[in-house]
């Protein structure tokens, strides 16, 4: 295990200045920064190991194929999938959800059917379902949340019915930080025989994910939100479901035999990986997973829970600040509003101080509407952030609220 004092130094981008001030990067829910180990792995692959996979009989191609397969195994172990064949590399969480909407739901849905989601979903876990539901005369139903940003489990349960063909919900909310009681929700759906997809985009960087323990049928996440490269992500699906699904895209590598009379398809994962995949991305993701495993969840939890508590306590002391999302069980994502100052003004002023935050609706417009807000400012933390950075945020917000209230 690494000494945690070294951790910040693993991320070269964090040592730079922005607008003449040391960078304070608090936009980790948008994307995480990359440790040197990931940068080196990508660089080494591209400079010494690059080749296409599954095609060549030459050394580099066979080696790249092995590396790509190892990346798949690494992901399978990381989320405790039963087998490597349950891991499909895609472009990101969004594509994984679209894949399930097309290849799993499209055939199943009939007029009057329902897909149950929640009020706290990211647009990526709303729009693909709306598209496929719309084409089939089905409907997307949002399960309500409380004002604190937690699921109302009684209402969730009461919305599960014989018309519900899939339940899809966010494991951890990007806008609120809420960690949903996923296992309990999966159980409730399974009691009625309904399959479940979990959007884990915001979960994987903060906690151990065990898909078998959760019991979900599909789990999706993006590499770039867990210190890996962008442009690659993962769809986990239970094998018996995947091999019954229609292919998502057609092309090379996903076929058994192609003729002009018809084509037969390979089983998962190749069935869903048409064309040359993001080979370097998958290998970079493995390096990111190795890095996280090397630090260990215990260290990550310890650091992140200190940062989260300090951020909440510090911001709550400012009477102008209203926290948005105060669930009991949260990752270190702190959304807030200041009555006198619009989130975009707050974010612009913070930027001039070198502090990077996100302002806006966070791709959760229905959630903002539910909470009666147009936008929030969001500081999303990672283990490499520091107490001092939070203190600087707190001070800057004091100045901002004073400026706009003057």
């Amino acid at each position: 295990m690494k000494e945690d004092t070294d951790l910040r130094e693993d991320f070269p981008i964090l040592s730079q200045e922005v607008h003449g001030k040391p960078l304070i990067y608090l936009d980790n829910a948008a994307t995480t920064q990359k440790p040197q180990a990931v940068i080196d792995r990508l660089s080494n692959f591209l400079s010494k190991e690059n080749a296409n996979i599954h095609r060549g009989v030459h050394y580099l191609s066979m080696n790249a194929t092995t590396l790509y397969d190892e990346a798949r195994s690494s992901v399978a172990n990381f989320i405790n999938a039963e087998s490597d064949e349950e891991i499909i590399f895609v472009r990101g969480a969004t594509e994984a959800i679209n894949l399930v909407a097309r290849s799993f739901c499209n055939e199943k849905l009939e007029p009057g059917d329902e897909i149950l989601i929640t009020e706290m979903e990211h647009h990526a876990n709303i729009v693909p379902w709306q598209l496929v539901a719309g084409e089939n005369g089905a409907r997307v139903i949002p399960a309500p949340i409380t004002d604190e940003g937690e699921m109302d489990l009684d209402q969730f349960e009461s919305l599960l019915n014989e018309r519900t063909k899939l339940v899809a919900f966010v494991h951890v909310s990007n806008a609120l930080g809420t960690i949903n009681p996923a296992k309990k929700m999966v159980d409730l759906a399974h009691q009625k025989g309904i399959p479940v997809l979990l959007d884990g985009a915001q979960a994987v960087a903060h906690q151990k994910v065990d898909v078998q323990d959760l019991g979900c049928d599909f789990y999706v996440f993006s590499s770039h939100k867990i210190f890996g490269p962008d442009g690659v992500g993962v769809l986990y699906g239970r094998k018996e479901l995947l091999n019954k699904m229609t292919p998502y895209q057609g092309g090379g590598d996903m076929i058994e035999i192609v003729s002009f009379d018809g084509t037969t398809f390979r089983p998962s994962p190749e069935r869903f990986e048409a064309g040359t995949p993001n080979i370097s991305g998958a290998i970079g993701l493995k390096a990111a997973i190795d890095y996280v495993n090397d630090i260990g969840w215990e260290t990550i939890h310890e650091k992140e829970s200190l940062l989260k508590d300090h951020a909440h306590e510090s911001l709550e002391k400012n009477p102008s600040i209203k926290l948005v999302g105060t669930a009991e069980n949260k990752v270190p994502v702190v959304s807030f509003t200041i009555d006198s100052a619009h989130p975009h003004d707050i974010a612009t002023i913070l930027d001039t101080k070198g502090i990077a935050v996100r302002a806006g609706h966070h791709c959760t417009q229905p959630l903002m509407k539910r909470l009666g807000l147009s936008a929030t400012t969001r500081a999303s933390l990672s283990f490499y952030n520091t107490i001092d950075e939070i203190n600087q945020l707190t001070e800057a917000l004091k100045e901002i609220s004073a400026l706009f209230e003057s």
Partner: protein, 149 residues
Amino acid sequence: MEDLSDLYQEIILSHNKRPRNGEPLIPCTHQADGFNPLCGDKLTVYVRKPDDLVDEISCDTEGCAISRASGSIMTTLVQGKKISEIETLIEETKALLTGDEEPEIDLVQHGDMAALIGVRKFPARIKCATLAWHALESALKGEVDATTE
């Protein structure tokens, strides 16, 4: 906050807090909505123009300080002007906020809009400053909506 003196100065903060002509103007002869899908700024420009002269104008904005101040300042500049003058003003304001060349400020001509040129340093925010002006243009053309996209 010396870095901010260019953008969040008193003029802007004052227009943000108390927008001039910020209430809906009903009835009106021309009206258009402005929407910036990127950040969610929403506004409506109302114009009363019985002839070639804008008698009254208002801009009702839900959004950031930059979009609110820009709309408020716009109404003060446009009120009582002829359409041909307003068309020139719209072009000049766009050049002021987005033009390639560093603008020369004419305080008589530009009035409080001069306070908004600080936005040029913040590319992500320029559309907040131009939104009301796009909506004004649409309203005068008889279009209903303007977006920044």
